[in-house]
Symmetry: D2
Subunit: 245 residues, 4 copies
């Protein structure tokens, strides 16, 4: 891939949003896909390559500093002179809903681990590369996939919600520090059920298009990436037209 | 224009954001430009027509119900079978900064008049037309141009800020009522100085691109218009990369 | 009342919150009660006087500048050397819930009229008096009674919500301007049904105390009034323990 | 202390807010003070005892589950039949301000560790006791001391801010789950410099009372504790009258 001028990385790639974001950015850049298990990124790598794009998958645990460091060192070599144009942190973390007093310490911490610590490790690895990429067509971009739980702590959802609140705070802090250095940091609040294999059976409404198209999320992320540096959006909410909110 | 399938309307057209939004949407649709004075819309109408687009200007006071009603009746006739694809309320209202106890009643009310009442009259005229336009390429869209003052009431800015808060409330209320009917309602928080003729002399930073490009705002509005109905954004913030916030 | 050192005024006095706030503040100060109709304040004036307090009622339309001016001129005379220690704006405005396109212009504007314009006129009359009262036991205080509708624009509630958003903006703007001059400005978000005569038949929950005690609201307002100037609260939310939010 | 009907616990007791909160609640209840080092709680324990109150100090690391568990087991025995009326989590965590890319992993995680994990461990230990205490004079209360950093992620403050965001999320989640069970959960946003020994030399303004009195914070916490269950406040902001915000 060394001949490419720019590349993108997506952490948290499974059969949903991450895959669609990877496909979308692969139309413009070689993409690196990070996920815990090869089974999560391999089909998408193959699909992108089959469609004429370039993709590489690396097994990575975003909550583990050595694992993240190792992935980015590998990618830095692999990508040669190319610059990192976009980094998407799409790690959901487990959604745990149960009475607070029944949560184990490990369960409670899993939200902050995945989204707070994971967001930190990913940002720390990606930002030095993004900072070098300010002469590309679009401003270098760091996007965090978030959720309504970043805005509101619901009953019995403390684990998921503390992680998303922490991640939102991180996205704001990074936007304020790295924005002036030319890096676009954005936080996308996904408010609704995403229309993927795993949610096929979930009934949310009788109306058509009541679940969020992950392709449409990818379009929104691409749009954020292309925004002019005089016109950065830090936060967007995304929800189906029929969603109650 | 009767042969066109869709049209757009922009209220509050002057040499800045309104003009850029009109130009952008004119690449896809005939556009109607509403402004108090012909001098505000005539040059843009001519420019759009010269570039091969279609545009019509109507002198309108958005705070006056008869004036708004009259404008939309005219447009309805003029546009024939075409459907209203997008309506942009870009009325700023006067920015008044002065000690609260020196504000006249008229000055104080001018914010709510322009943005609250004006937003109401414009929405009431546009929504029945937007509701009929759900079979076009993109979901029918109603966008409000707003400001940081919609989020925070600053000292000595009560007039401007009450108007913007009221408008934000209206945008939320309409999104919740008309979203499920297929209309995309969005509120854009413009946080920064816009780079227009009037602000040329304003020094905001030594950095380049420190003022918001109105073309970039127009790109963002067009993006909002094209969002899939499963993926509506209700609120975006827009600010230069160097802005303090 | 001329011998008193301090007095308080409550606008929007009926059988609910306003009456309880008046009773509470009457334990410390002579109180002036403003309401459109004498029937709204007379019973409370009598009750307070019967309990050994001092109270005066004045028929006032808070949305009418002449009426508000007239009331405060009368009070200024009546209160002699006493200083205005606290002013409470407790005007609800009509709660109108109906489809947006069925709202008349007058209905829509009634929210901003009562809460935006009314808040302005009341503040403009009270603030010059509050500014003189910085040597009393407690910092001079201006409190706005607000609602969840100040935080969220719900479907079909645009009239009420635009008024409450505007009032919240006003409260913030005044806090930032007059706080440094020693005046405590606060915005109280009442989130729930208040337990008054009019709501007796409303069923909100099987639990006891599921409706907000107006006496408890009055206690909270009195607490806000007594806060030290190094420790002003600008915004509190108030809701029953069983409320969903 | 076994004869007492109710007790209170404050975690994070040093010479500032924690001490004042302990003194205030000690006027009504025996109080337990938790801090890492005896030097932090001993002087206050002695002072409270000297003034005729009851106090007990326990060395506790709120980020360590065994330490928190141990402290509450000790207290449960010590307090006999008394019920836990109020629990205050006043753990600040280290305020670290430095460029993001210079933060060590340990530094970054310290915020979530102190405020997120610490808040979880403290709540998990306190809530079962608070749930039993619903027949006391005031509703059982759990208060979190927070900061502006819970509302806004500032540049170079990601460690502190992610911790405070996570804690705010926790406070909301617990309020929504345990409010209906009668426990009052509140989040206090302290926005300004607190007037304590450590900040004596800090110049924030020429005005008097420009730093927050920790006694006034304690008054506010006591007020929150006394609120009627029909009238719970979940969030208050507290700032000096001269503070810019």
């Amino acid at each position: 891939m060394a001949a490419s001028k720019a590349w993108a990385v997506v952490a948290g790639v499974g059969p949903g949003t991450g895959a669609c974001v990877a496909r979308k950015f692969a139309q413009a850049y070689p993409v690196a896909l990070l996920a815990r298990k090869p089974a999560n990124y391999e089909p998408i790598v193959q699909e992108i390559e089959a469609a004429g794009g370039k993709a590489i998958g690396i097994s990575t645990d975003v909550s583990d500093s050595a694992s993240v460091k190792n992935a980015f060192e590998k990618l830095d070599k692999e990508m040669g002179d190319a610059q990192l144009a976009a980094a998407v942190f799409n790690v959901g973390g487990s959604f745990i809903k149960k009475p607070f007093l029944e949560l184990t310490e490990e369960e409670f911490l899993s939200g902050m681990d995945a989204n707070g610590k994971g967001g930190f490790l990913f940002s720390r690895a990606a930002l030095p590369l993004l900072l070098k990429a300010t002469n590309l067509e679009y401003p270098p971009t760091l996007i965090f996939t978030s959720a309504t739980a970043a805005m509101k702590g619901s009953a019995q959802c403390a684990s998921f919600s503390t992680g998303k609140f922490a991640m939102r705070s991180l996205a704001q802090s990074l936007a304020r520090e790295f924005g002036p250095q030319g890096v676009h940091v954005a936080h996308a609040i996904i408010d609704g059920v995403i229309d993927i294999e795993r949610t096929k059976a979930w009934k949310v409404s009788d109306a058509p298009d009541a679940k969020i198209s992950p392709h449409a999320i990818a379009d929104s992320y691409w749009f954020l990436h292309t925004q002019h540096r005089s016109c950065f959006t830090n936060e967007i909410d995304i929800r189906p037209y029929v969603e109650k909110w």
